[in-house]
């Protein structure tokens, strides 16, 4: 049992009737047993084989969360192919930009097949360049399950543990050109280790609304529960964002024990659920509510606890995790055996001296939420700018080493080489170690994280730069943490010659529209400034962090 398809088939053989996933769709609930899951996957494996898709080739899945996505994901694996889930087109994203993103993905990833809905076929065909790698477009509606006994051969069962089993991309043009390639072995090493840390067993029930194209949703909210035979209760992110109470209702109805949430979801649930939607809800079965994938705030935990304690939420269920796709998922985990450590440090020292000094009562204090101890298979080091290891409580770049690291960025040896230093993966995150626990303080890389989703600022800058009246290349995008929402606000500052207020408003509107329709990110603030406002680096590039500082300083004065 050392590859994913082998484990899935073992579950089918040993527990065909067991419910692997309860799919919540609209008001309905579809129980998907291992038999139904594997029969559905067999249908996709057969269709991929018939289309001439060979083991080791990439299959891109453009599907909404649901049964077709689950079946095609595991179906690709049974065929020995490498599935990669692409974010789905939302109503506000312009087809033109979606095509551009898809073309960017195809160019680097070179998939052999794409699976989508019939109504999407035109869009997908339009995005495929003439001489591309794509040989087949499979439509979900034409693919029926194949009952066992009629299954085709599954070449995926003969894959070696070291071979790539899946690709994971983040969104946007930049993210889609940087697929994290993970081997069967890496995924299983992570699952074995992480499941041990959180004590996950088949008795657990995971409730999740997370998108499956993101590591937290894909691993913790999908692959891990299915392979471990824990029950998964899965709802769509599109539904959750309109009705966050449904996650809590699902946890209550199914006696959910585990859930993973990005920090903003704590604030979102705490402030946007009416009492009447919580009538009869009992959250006492949740043994861990795990905060992961964006900066974690003590205040978010407190708001969540205060709101849901009357509904049975246990204070000891609050947990934290530091994770990334490049380590399959978890790097460290806190709050399982003991409450999450809160490290009270001097604010000034943290910012000025890059040192996390325990607070002694003078000056401002920041309560840092621990991300817990590294999981047993993963080592963590803090490095200075010269990549020398720093002692405890010094802030530097977090580097990791484990037996579950990425095989590389798919077809991007250049990026893979840059990401490692002497075998250690450089995360681009800043933090410190104290008492053996990991604390995340910020980010070295230019990345914006909104609602747990990674966004590359260069994608937003390119879109904003196309607005009329904006000087090309004179745009900067960055994130600013918003304590009220518990996540970052995406901000764009653009230079324009136009000094008239009304005209500037118009430019700002166009920037908002272009960014939303081109990236699925809603900008919170757009600031139009005059020429020469933006700061450049010595090499002439727009300096994102310096401009962020300048923007914050100006806002503070207003």
């Amino acid at each position: 049992m050392n590859t994913l398809p082998q484990i899935l088939l073992r579950s089918f053989q040993e527990a065909p009737q067991r419910i692997a996933v309860h799919l919540l769709e609209d008001q309905a609930e579809i129980p998907v047993s291992f038999r139904r899951l594997v029969d559905g996957a067999a249908g996709y494996a057969g269709a991929l084989a018939a289309a001439g898709i060979r083991p080791g080739e990439v299959v891109v899945l453009i599907l909404q969360p649901g049964e077709a996505l689950i079946a095609s994901f595991f179906g690709a694996m049974l065929q020995g192919a490498i599935p990669s889930i692409m974010p789905f087109l939302t109503e506000k994203l312009s087809p033109e930009h979606y095509r551009k993103s898809l073309a960017a993905l195809i160019e680097i990833t070179r998939p052999a097949a794409i699976v989508t809905y019939p109504e999407f076929e035109g869009e997908v065909r339009a995005a495929i360049p003439g001489n591309s790698s794509v040989r087949a477009i499979l439509l979900s509606e034409g693919i029926a399950p194949i009952p066992s006994g009629h299954w085709p051969e599954f070449p995926g069962l003969a894959r070696a543990p070291q071979e790539i089993c899946l690709l994971q991309h983040s969104s946007g043009t930049t993210g889609l050109q940087k697929g994290v390639a993970l081997s069967h072995e890496a995924v299983l090493n992570q699952l074995g280790c992480y499941a041990g840390v959180i004590g996950m067993t088949p008795a657990d029930t995971v409730v999740s609304w997370l998108p499956l194209y993101h590591d937290m949703g894909l691993i913790a909210g999908f692959i891990m529960p299915i392979l471990l035979r824990s029950t998964l209760v899965l709802m769509s992110p599109f539904e959750w964002v309109r009705a966050p109470w449904r996650l809590l209702r699902a946890a209550s109805d199914h006696r959910g024990t585990l859930t993973w949430l990005p920090n903003f979801a704590y604030n979102f649930c705490a402030s946007k659920i009416r009492d009447r939607d919580l009538e009869g809800v009992d959250l006492s079965s949740l043994r861990a509510v795990i905060n992961c994938s964006e900066p974690m705030r003590f205040s978010s935990h407190m708001a969540f606890l205060e709101r849901f304690r009357p509904y049975g939420l246990r204070p000891e269920s609050l947990a934290t995790c530091y994770a990334m796709a490049e380590n399959v998922f978890a790097v460290s985990q806190g709050g399982i055996e003991a409450p999450v450590t809160v490290d009270e440090v001097e604010a000034r020292s943290l910012v000025v001296d890059r040192l996390a000094r325990p607070a002694n009562g003078d000056g401002d204090i920041i309560p840092m939420l621990s991300a817990g101890r590294p999981i047993p298979n993963t080592r963590v080091r803090i490095l200075d700018d010269q990549r020398r290891e720093l002692p405890e409580r010094h802030i530097g770049e977090i580097a990791i080493h484990s037996d579950c690291m990425l095989a590389g960025y798919f077809n991007r040896d250049d990026l893979t080489a840059k990401a490692f230093h002497e075998g250690w993966y450089l995360t681009g995150d800043l933090g410190y170690l104290a008492g053996g626990e990991v604390y995340i303080t910020g980010r070295k890389k230019d990345l914006i994280i909104v609602g747990g989703k990674n966004i590359y600022p260069q994608d937003l800058e390119e879109l904003a730069g196309q607005a009329r009246g904006v000087h090309a290349g004179r745009v900067v995008a960055f994130g600013v943490f918003n304590d009220q929402t518990g996540t970052e606000d995406a901000v764009v500052v653009a230079e324009a010659d136009e000094a008239d207020e009304a005209a500037r408003h118009q430019i700002a509107d166009e920037i908002r529209e272009r960014v939303t329709r081109g990236s699925d990110v809603a900008l919170r603030y757009v600031k139009i400034v005059g020429p020469h406002w933006l700061l450049k680096t010595s090499s002439g590039k727009i300096a994102r962090s310096a401009n962020r500082q300048k923007y914050l300083a100006e806002q503070a004065r207003q």
């Binding site: 964002v241 309109r242 979102f268 908002r512 699925d520």
Partner: protein, 85 residues
Amino acid sequence: MSDDITASLGRYIAAEILKDPARQLAVDEPLISSGLVDSFSLVDLALHVESAFGVRIDDTELTAQVFDSLGELASLVRSRLPAAS
């Protein structure tokens, strides 16, 4: 009355969702399909409508198919207000 609803909703969206109180919204300007109002703000809008006007918008109605502009939202609110005496 109807103009009050439109104006009040317009002020709320400009100030609280777009963070730009000076922003004037046209009654027929697309809000959801254009991405001006992002999905995270839709619940806010529903909660605001409920507390400001005492009418309910169901979660399933928070889509561009049901309302996409200030005018459409105001009509939806108006249609649910108790008949004026």
